[in-house]
């Protein structure tokens, strides 16, 4: 029972790291980026290549995944995304689906279509019992790492100058611009940060979620749930949504395996009907 809770938290944390970038781009730039999963996939494949081809340590792969995805994100933002901030949502959807298609086919071309497997370092394998709770070492690692990330993010958003600029830009871009904030730079950095986090999530998730070229689509629904349920106006909203989703998903599979995914979708539609702006968003949010 507590083991399930533990697993659910680990899963939820992972989902949060994967999805929070999406939530930021959506809230900040009002951009529906369905290609978010492609950045996560990039991180995953960076890990696979580094570990399996060059035999590098898993721990080095994580920052590398972050950096590569962030760089790719920053470049794409400058070149392709920027002209579309003002475009209609339909255009954004089409555009990001296009990116997803290209990413899938491209990865398929270079890496092949099969499941990618990595071997975690031995100290992260296996599990131990703690007060009767079975704790997977790798899951514990994920929880600790993600918790650290969440705290850092929260602090960065509330305490740093960049954070306050970001929040100002989210609240009202025009006003922020008027106050001398370089909104365009904030956008770029944020997009890169979001993509990087997704890449990190992808790297962390390779072992847990599996990795193949269809990754961006397979997990799109989960990302979108996190964002729509959590709202886009804060970090804590998506975080709670991700945790809830993770726990609900794991518990659902444990207790009613037959209904599996059904519960998740039904919950999402229900939330959207009752609270179109997300479960945790402030009243009258975007």
């Amino acid at each position: 029972m507590l083991t399930i809770l533990f697993d659910g938290i680990a899963y939820g944390m992972l989902l949060f790291v994967l999805a929070c970038g999406l939530s930021i781009t959506l809230g900040l730039m009002n951009f529906v980026n369905l290609a978010h999963g492609a950045f996560a996939m990039a991180g995953g494949y960076v890990t696979v290549i580094m570990m399996n081809r060059y035999g590098l340590s898993f721990y080095w792969c994580l920052p590398a995944a972050f950096l590569v995805s962030a760089t790719v994100g920053a470049i794409l933002e400058r070149l392709l995304y920027r002209p579309l901030y003002k475009a209609s949502h339909l255009d954004q959807v089409l555009f990001s689906i296009g990116i997803v298609f290209m990413a899938i086919a491209g990865v398929d071309y270079f890496m092949g279509g099969q499941q990618q497997l990595i071997n975690l370092p031995p100290e992260l394998k296996g599990r131990f019992d703690f007060l009767g709770i079975g704790i997977g070492r790798y899951r514990l690692f994920i929880i600790v790492l993600c918790a650290f990330l969440v705290v850092t993010l929260q602090l960065a958003l509330t305490k740093t100058r960049f954070g306050s600029q970001l929040r100002a830009a989210v609240d009202d871009g025009r006003v922020a611009r008027g106050l001398g904030v370089n909104v365009s730079l904030v956008f770029s950095l944020t997009f890169a940060l979001g993509s990087g986090l997704a890449g990190l999530g992808g790297a962390l998730g390779t072992d847990l979620l599996g990795l193949d070229p269809n990754f961006p689509l397979k997990f799109l629904i989960y990302f979108m749930i996190v964002v729509t349920v959590g709202g886009t106006s804060s970090i804590s909203g998506p975080f709670l949504a991700a945790l809830l989703l993770g726990i609900a998903d794991v518990a659902g599979k444990y207790y009613v395996p037959q209904l599996g995914a059904f519960i998740i979708y039904a919950l999402m539609v229900l939330v959207l009907i009752l609270r179109p702006h997300g479960l945790f968003s402030r009243e009258g949010g975007r």
């Binding site: 899963y11 298609f101 099969q114 599996g210 794991v250 599979k253 444990y254 395996p257 599996g260």
Partner: protein
């Protein structure tokens, strides 16, 4: 999964134009429909390699007919499979069809071949009910829970009395769950719990936790091969082996194609299946060598399905003496027996389904590579669901 439904209708156009004069008596076209792209692309590659290997080893001419393979990709989408089958028959004049990577793909084609009276050989899909859908179906892969039944018998004999089953929730999975459960109970075993997981499921953790909490002697698993490797990892990670729970499975989990990628965690896993690349016979050695050379992959059970489909096609043509009439061909296929790379097999004259030996294997390291090493044989297993 997205629309990777590649269908090579453009090729269809060119070949269709060329086909009209080429319908000369000495060429016989065999339509091969496989998922060459999409999540099931590895199935397609394996089957194709098997088919090509047979032709490379046995020549491309039989009973005065030059065999020409027309390969089409359905990307695993049923309406594409159906359309391609119809086009192959109508436009290309194919006299035989082969392939069908998944159950729905095979089911979608049944009405077409019945209407057109063209025999079709199933190289991959395993659900029991498929061959009943059309009198023109024959099968060289596996019939329903064939591979699971001997595992049940073996398990009880080796003291694994309390077992949890975990299968993917789709046709073959349900077939296998039933086949295993029936036999296992008959032999005096007890099914503690039966878990079905969604076909495309990323996270086995909760299911495995559920298994762990019910403390069985062993867990019996059937999941498709790609997912199987992911399953293996999580099985080890969750410490089920340490908790004294043995893993027994059908051969899909320790697919020859992926076994080395799974790595050492797979060592010692006991599976039952109809084919192992390490099967010790001259037929198999030639087959494995040929596929490795031509396609640079280790052949797996899909590949041998393709190989034997060609073998069956050749045998039927020999028997009809080159007559390509569909009804005669399917008649000729009934009751055929030969020694395949997997061992001796027979096409059941009554059901047109395959009768074959099932081997119990253990994953071992041979010359630095992992192999399913066969150590027990259950001869002449029929589809238990067909009886």
């Amino acid at each position: 999964m997205i629309s990777r439904r590649v269908f090579i209708a453009g090729t269809a156009a060119t070949t269709a134009l060329a086909a009209v004069p080429a319908m000369a008596a000495d060429v016989l076209k065999v339509g091969l429909i496989l998922p060459m792209t999409g999540p099931f692309a590895s199935t397609g590659r394996q089957v194709e390699a098997g088919v090509r290997a047979y032709m490379a080893l046995n020549g491309d001419t039989v009973a005065g007919k030059k065999i020409e393979i027309v390969l089409r990709d359905d990307a695993g989408t049923a309406d594409q499979t159906r359309r391609l089958a119809q086009e192959l028959i109508v436009n290309d004049g194919a006299k035989m069809l082969m392939g069908f990577g998944l159950t729905p793909l095979a089911l979608a084609v049944a009405p077409v071949i019945t209407q057109a009276k063209v025999p079709a050989i199933i190289t991959s899909a395993t659900t029991s009910s498929i061959v009943k859908q059309s009198p023109f179906y024959a099968r060289t892969s596996m019939a329903g829970p064939q591979s699971a039944v001997p595992v049940a018998t073996w398990a009880v004999k080796n003291g694994l009395k309390r077992v949890v089953t975990l299968v993917s929730d789709y046709g073959p999975g349900i077939d296998i769950e039933k086949g295993f459960t029936d036999q296992f109970k008959k032999d005096g075993g007890q099914i503690v719990e039966a878990v079905r997981v969604p076909l495309q499921n990323p996270d086995f953790a909760p299911f495995l936790q559920r298994v762990r909490d019910s403390k069985p002697d062993a867990i019996f698993v059937f999941v498709p091969s790609g997912v199987g490797s992911l399953f293996m990892k999580q099985f080890v990670d969750r410490g089920l082996a340490e908790a004294g729970i043995k893993l027994i499975a059908t051969g899909d989990v320790t697919d020859d194609d992926l076994l080395n990628a799974i790595g050492d965690p797979a060592l010692g896993v006991i599976t039952g299946h109809f084919y192992s690349a390490s099967h010790d016979s001259p037929e198999n050695k030639a087959f494995v060598a040929r596929v490795k050379k031509a396609a640079n992959i280790r052949p797996n059970f899909m590949s041998v399905g393709g190989f034997d489909a060609m073998a069956l096609a050749y045998a039927a043509l020999k028997k009809t003496n080159g007559d390509t009439d569909g009804t005669k061909l399917i008649e000729a296929m009934k009751g055929q027996s030969w020694v395949s790379p997997r061992g001796p097999i027979t096409i059941d004259a009554a059901t047109r389904d395959i009768i074959q030996d099932i081997y119990i294997r253990e994953v071992k390291k041979v010359d630095g590579e992992l192999y399913n090493v066969e150590f027990a044989t259950f001869p002449k297993i029929k589809d238990p669901n067909a009886q």
